[in-house]
Subunit: 222 residues, 2 copies
């Protein structure tokens, strides 16, 4: 049954596994499909299985007591979502939540099978460790940004990355503020300033990028 083993081919580190181990992993893992807007993990809700994302994007964000939010990072195809296991291992309960931004196809590996794969497969370990390491790098990047970077620069960066080449983004100012961990009014004023300079055009729920080069300059300034 080549169809059953197909997902494993997406992970070069796992394709190198002995056929037996692969079969066992495939047998015990379930391919799941999550609709847009699904909460994968959240404070208080403990994770039951380890997730490997095949397709789609999961947004991981932190919510403060005061209701403000900040996006920490996004997990996309081919990556491991380690926050679920991290929550289990560090007794401290922390206030991150993971939400699917698109429809997401993923592999759910139950705790026991996860432990076994970790024990038996160097490739699996590599996937998990590199997942952890990338998230640590992401988090350090967030710290660096919120602690030391100017908001206009961060906003320009985020607009460009959210656009991903497109000319326009469908997003509210509130959502942009949550991306940056800032306040709506502040982001609104920053956007107004960019519009005044003719670099973007604003309308309800949308930002159109006009002068991409100028935004890029701002995003990489200093």
């Amino acid at each position: 049954m080549p169809e059953q083993t197909s997902w494993i081919e997406r992970f070069p580190d796992l394709a190198a596994l002995p056929a037996d181990d692969r079969r066992q992993l495939v047998a015990r893992a379930a391919e799941v499909s999550l609709p847009l807007g699904t909460t994968i993990f959240a404070p208080g809700k403990d994770a039951e299985s380890f997730l490997l994302v095949l397709e789609g994007v999961v947004r991981v964000q932190q919510v403060s007591v005061s209701g403000r939010e900040i996006v920490l990072y996004r997990v996309s195809g081919g990556e491991a979502c380690i926050m679920t296991t991290a929550c289990l291992l560090s007794s401290e309960p922390y206030s991150a939540e993971g939400i699917t931004e698109t429809e997401v196809k993923a592999i759910a590996i139950p705790r026991a099978a996860f432990e076994e794969a970790l024990a038996g497969s160097p490739g699996f370990r590599r996937i998990v460790f590199s997942g952890y390491s990338h998230r640590i790098a992401d988090l350090m990047h967030v710290v660096e940004e919120v602690a030391f970077q100017r908001l206009d620069k961060r906003l320009a960066q985020r607009l460009l990355s959210l656009a991903g080449g497109a000319a326009s983004i469908r997003v509210t100012q509130q959502e942009l503020a949550a991306e940056l961990g800032s306040a709506r009014e502040v982001v609104g004023r920053q956007l107004k300033e960019l519009e005044r300079r003719g670099w973007v055009a604003l309308s309800r729920g949308e930002v159109r990028l006009i002068e991409v080069e100028a935004l890029r300059d701002l995003a990489t300034s200093e």
Copy 2:
């Protein structure tokens, strides 16, 4: 030789290892002693071995291009310093550095032996994973603080935690600013305000805590 295996007893997860594995780990790991102020890892300097801290404290901080700093977390006895391995695994080079704050006794495990222990020992995996998980929790805590908390509250928290029960802290305002990722002048003004209220007393290179209860209230406010 009971002396040779002594350090392993500090890690309950490793004490459970089969005697053979323990002997091998002990044989390949080196106990090192690092004087105060040693830079364990830094940007550009790649780590050669995995570290388990036995005694002492390692401060991990991030330095921005503009020269500002922020303390991310501290690693103390019984914990794994995962940043060295994290740097290797996530290709992104990031700007954290680890510095010993006291004399530090640690176990250095070379890369190859690290991989083997990871493969062979569930206990060793547990140590490493819980190290990663705790650091992720620490980093998320830093993000939460810098993004959402008021500086006076954070300063009070830090003063109390640095004091650790003592009545006085030997630290410059510049160092306090680096703890919080803020600027010296700002921290200076905040300290002056605390002094005006009679909660602390300031002198060159020292902060004495007078009204610990008031500081604790501030630290836990909201």
